[in-house]
Symmetry: C2
Subunit: 188 residues, 2 copies
Amino acid sequence: KKSNQPTFSRRGMTLEEEINESNEYYLVNNQAVIYKKPTPIQIVSVDYPKRSRAVIKEAYFRQASTTDYNGVYRGYYVDFEAKETKNKLSFPLKNFHQHQIEHFKRCLLQDGICFVIIKFSTMNRYFVTPASLIIANFEHDDDQKSIKLTTIEEASIELSIGYRPTIPYLDAVDQLIKNKGIKTNNDR
Amino acid sequence: KKSNQPTFSRRGMTLEEEINESNEYYLVNNQAVIYKKPTPIQIVSVDYPKRSRAVIKEAYFRQASTTDYNGVYRGYYVDFEAKETKNKLSFPLKNFHQHQIEHFKRCLLQDGICFVIIKFSTMNRYFVTPASLIIANFEHDDDQKSIKLTTIEEASIELSIGYRPTIPYLDAVDQLIKNKGIKTNNDR
Ligand SMILES: [Mg+2]
Ligand SMILES: [Mg+2]
């Protein structure tokens, strides 16, 4: 089932592909150095054939203990997770794990810039949502954890999707950095 | 062949194990959030047995395009490579790849804190060496690329090996950050 999206070339790209493409653009233009972390894999057996490269014969996917992406931008440490949902009215938190929330908290304590890029794929809307909103909502005792779209709209920076980079999320990161500066000046 | 090292509990630990242990210490003490990046793996075939988790049946190691470790410390992006040598008089650069050097350059351009932790295992000496020294020497046209120990000594911060953390390299990072500040003030 495909929705009638107004976009052209990105039709069918996953959020991860869109972000990887954006990171490649930022990398070659010396704007930031941000990579997706490889999926951690537990290797059980490896063959070393003669005159040929090693072949992994048995291995398992391990759960990542951190987030999807990290890197450096203008001297700032940037750390984020990418999440896509087909929901129209809320963003479900069930795909977050406790250790990812802990990771966000630890990075915030070290003054990292932490957020989630949320794609509402049915509506083709993208948000850069501060990690603090996710943390606060994750720790509610609700059975059905989710954040209302209206709350996401209020607390996030919505992205206008471009051509190059596909997802210009560093514009939103500039805003997060600016807000952080204001907050620091008032609070300390 | 083992050398008679004066140390006790770390006997036989690789540099990577020592750094991982140090990172764990820094993590649980909220001093920094630094992880080893998983080795990238190219997956060719996966089995999905019923009632059991997915098994990777064929996969290959890919060459990492970046460095071993990255993370955040006191708001700074930290990025480094760990290298061990049995040499006594020089540090060979043959284990660095062009793309790792490029990665260092890009991260430096974004104001990251970039370095190599070098272990001279025969002498049990550890250095935090700024990436700039590696970059400068890597680009020489020598057949046998290496950096003399005396040069390493001059340009690096030598680490005194402790008990907790095993390798207290953040002390050296503090120094790199301080030096960077001084340099910036003079140069700009
Ligand atoms: Mg994700
Ligand atoms: Mg290494």
